[in-house]
C-alpha cells in the first residue's frame, strides 16, 4: 500500500508498504530517518518515541497505515537548521548522553513534557520519563538536562 503523511514538515509518500509494518520500520528502513531507535518492539523502552499529531508515541506500536494523512515529527526534526533545540543542547551539556541509543526517544519525550508543562517538578519529570529506559546514565544527568532545558525555554519566552 501507499502511505502519505507529513514527516518533519515535509509531505512524503511511501510505496509498497506492507500492512503489518510499523511506523518505526517505515521511518528507519524506508525513509532514511534512523533517529528513532528499535530496542524492544513492544513499547516498553521508549527508544522509538516520535510525535504523532503532536503527541509522543512509541513508533514501534503504530501501524504504518495509521499515519495516513497525519503529521509525524522525529528527533531529526527538532533542531532549527543548524541550531539545536534547547533540549538537545541541555542533554549534551549536562552529560545526559552516554551510548546515545535511548537519547533520541528521551529528547522527544522531554520536548513533549516541556511543551505541556514548561516548569515540571522533579517528580513530574521522573514520571514523564519513566517509560524511556536508559541503561547507561543512571538517569540523574537526564534529570539535570530536563531542568536546564526547562529553565532555558522558560527564560527564552
Amino acid at each position: 500500500m501507499r502511505v502519505t503523511f507529513t514527516v518533519n514538515g515535509s509531505r512524503e509518500s511511501v510505496d509498497d508498504v506492507w500492512e503489518g509494518e510499523s511506523l518505526l520500520y517505515v521511518l528507519r528502513e524506508r525513509m532514511g530517518l534512523p533517529g528513532a531507535k528499535n530496542a524492544c518492539e513492544q513499547g516498553e523502552c521508549g527508544s522509538c518515541t516520535v510525535y504523532l499529531d503532536g503527541a509522543p508515541v512509541c513508533a514501534c506500536l503504530v501501524a504504518a497505515g495509521q499515519v495516513e494523512g497525519r503529521e509525524v515529527r522525529t528527533v531529526e526534526g527538532l533542531a532549527d537548521g543548524g541550531r539545536l533545540d534547547p533540549v538537545q543542547e541541555a542533554f549534551v551539556e549536562c552529560g545526559a548522553v552516554q551510548c546515545g541509543f535511548c537519547t533520541p526517544g528521551l529528547i522527544v519525550q522531554t520536548h513533549a513534557l516541556l511543551a505541556r508543562r514548561p516548569d515540571p517538578s522533579d517528580a513530574e519529570i521522573r514520571e514523564a520519563l519513566a517509560g524511556n529506559l536508559c541503561r547507561c546514565t543512571g538517569y540523574e544527568k537526564i534529570l539535570d538536562a530536563v531542568r536546564l532545558a526547562a529553565s532555558r525555554k522558560t527564560g527564552a519566552e
Partner: protein, 697 residues
Amino acid sequence: MTETIRARAMGRPLERLDGRDKVVGQAPYAYEQQVTDPLYLHPVQAVIARGRINAIDTADAESLPGVVTVLTHLNAPRLTGDGDGDDRELWVLQSDEVHFRGQFIGVVVAETSEIARHAADLVRVEYERWPHDVELSADRDDLYAPDKVNAGHDTDTDVGDVAAALADAPVVVDHTYRTPMEYNNPMEPHATVAVWDAGGLTMYDSTQGVHVVRQRLAPLFGLDPGHVRVVAPHVGGGFGSKGAPHAHNVLAGLAAQVTGGRPVKLAVTRQQMFSVVGHRTPTIQRIGLGAETDGRLTALVHEVVEHTSRIVEYAEQTAVVSRMMYAAPNRRTRHRLAALDVPVPFWMRAPGEAPGAFALEVAMDELAVACGLDPVELRIRNEPDVDPESGRPFSGRRMSECLREGARRFGWESRDPTPAARLRDGWLEGTGVAASVYPRIMQTGNRAWVRYGPDGRYEVGIGAVDIGTGTWTALTQIAADALEVPVEEVRLRIGDTDLPEAAVAGGSGGLSAWGSAVVGAARAFREKFGRHPSAGDEATGTAPESPAAEDFSMYSFGAQFAHVRVHADTGEIRVPRMLGVFTVGRVVNPRTARSQFVGAMTMGLSMALHEEAVLDPRFGHVVNHDLATYHIATHADVQDVDAIWLDEEDPRSNPMGIRGIGEIGIVGAAAAVANAVHHATGVRVRDLPITPDKLFH
C-alpha cells in the same frame, strides 16, 4: 613507576565529542550503516532445550515472495576448524544438534526484515527430544571444579587453616547468598551488517572490540585476518555482552556468502538476546566469617556454585574478591560449576566482583551486627597492610578514606544501628554501607599511530571503540596531553580494524590500554619529528605494561552508602539516596566519569531490587525474556544518586595515572541497598532481587 604525562586536558569536564550527532539522531550505529541494496536476515530458533533436528522443512518459507533463501545445517556454508572450545558457541548451522533452547538453527534471507521474520515462522522443524537439565542447585552430584576461572584466576585457594579458625572464632557468621541469572540488556540490541565480496568480509558490528571480532571470526570463515574488516564507530552499550562475537555474527557471515555480494543486515531482537548473547550466571554462595569479638577477621570462606553451558565453559570468578579484600589470616575460596543445557553465560558488568561482593559485603554487615560494631568501623579494622593474596603492597588503597569521607557526607555518625526502629509515615527507614573493589586490568598488544595532517592537526588512530563510555572524548584528551597540544588540534579515529590493534572495551581497562598506546605513539612521534613536524609525518607506538605491575597490587576501591524506605504494609522499597566515594587513580573526564559511576550504581540498584531472569525448568527458556517482564531500574525508581572520587593519580599504573572506572560502581551497590533494607526492617535478605514478598515471613 611510569613517567606520567602532564594533565592539561585530562581532568577537564569536556563535553562529549559525539554528543551532537547523538542528540540529532545522526550517529550511525551498526544497523544504520549505509550499504547498497541490502538483504535482511531473521534467525530460526530451536524450541527444545536439547536434542536433534530430524527434519527441517523450509519449503513454505522459501515460497514466500521476497525470500531469497533459507539456510539451515543442511545447506549452510561450512565453517573452518574443528568447532571445539569457545568456538562451539559460534559453530552455528553446522550440525543437527540442539544444545539449548533458542539456539539458532536456521536463518532466512529476504528482501525486507518483515518478510524474513514472517518466513522464519513458516519453517517447520521436527525434533528428536532428549531430556534436558537447566536447574542449578548446590547439592548436585555433578558439580565440578574448572581448571581456571574467568580472567585466568585460580579455581580454589587455601591459606592457613580455615576449619580450625572457624571452630575457634568467638564470632561466626555463616550463610548462603544467592544471585539470579541476569541480563546485560544494553539499549542497542546486538546487530551486524555483513558484506562478503572479493576483498573478503566487512562487518559493521555492534561490538566492544573490533579486533576481537576479527580475531575470532577470520579463522572460522577460513579467511586471513587481513581480509576481515570490522567497523564500529558508535555502539549503544554493551556491559560485557558485546565483548566477543556471538552466534549472530557467524549467522550473518554465513548468509553473506550466499547473496552474491549483496550486504546482509541482522538485528537481534530484544527477545532473542535472552538466548544468544550471554548472561550473568546465577550463583549460590556460602560465606563463612570467623572473627574476634572486636571484629577482626580470623577466617574467611567463600564457596561458589554457579552454572555454565554444556557446550562452552564460562566459569565466573565470583569468589576472587574474597582473596584480597580483607586481612583474614585464614582464607578459603572455591568455584564449582554445573554444566547445564542453558545458553552460554558470559561477561556482565564486573563479572565475578558484582555477585561476589554482594555476598561478601552483606556477610560483613551481618558480622558488624553480630559484633555490635559499626559496619564502617568493622571494615576499617580489617583493612590489610598489603594485598593478602599476593603479599605485594597496593599501588593505592585509600579504602578507609572512602569509607570515612562517605560516612561524613552521608551523615553516618548519627546513625542508630538498631534495626526496624524508624517508622515514619508508614515507611521504615534504614541506611547501609558496603565496600567496592575492582582490579586494574592492563590488556596487552595495543598499538596506535600519530600522523600530522596538512591542516595542522594531529590525527591519532587506534581500533578502540566507544560503547557509550566516552572514548571519543577521553581518548582525545589523553592524546592532546600526550602531544602537549590543545584538544582542538587532535582528530581521533577509532572503531575500525583498519586502525592499529586495540583491546576490547572491557574489564574497565579500555582507556588504560588505548591511552598507553596513544602516549607511546605520541612520544615516538615527538622523538622522531620534534615540535615542528611536516605534513605526513607519522609514528607508531605501543603500550608496554608498567614495570611497577610486577611489584604492586593494583585495584580501585570505593565505599557505597544507601538510604532506603520500606513501606511497612506493602513492602515497597524506595531508595531516596545513594552515595559512592571512589579511589580510581586519575579521572580523565569528570563529566563522562560521573555518568559511568552513577550509571553503574544505578545498575547495582537495579540488581538489588529488580533484575531476575526466570528459567522455566520444563522448557529451558527464560520466561521473562523482554523488557516488559525483565525489569530494570527506570527514571521513577531512581532518586538522589551521587558519586565522588578522591583527587589522585596512580603513576604506577600507566602514563595517564588511571586505573579504570567502568565497573566499580556496580560492585557493592546491591549490598549497600540490602544492608539498608535490613537496617530498615530487621529482615536479612540474602537472595537477590529484594522483592516485597521476601520481607514478609
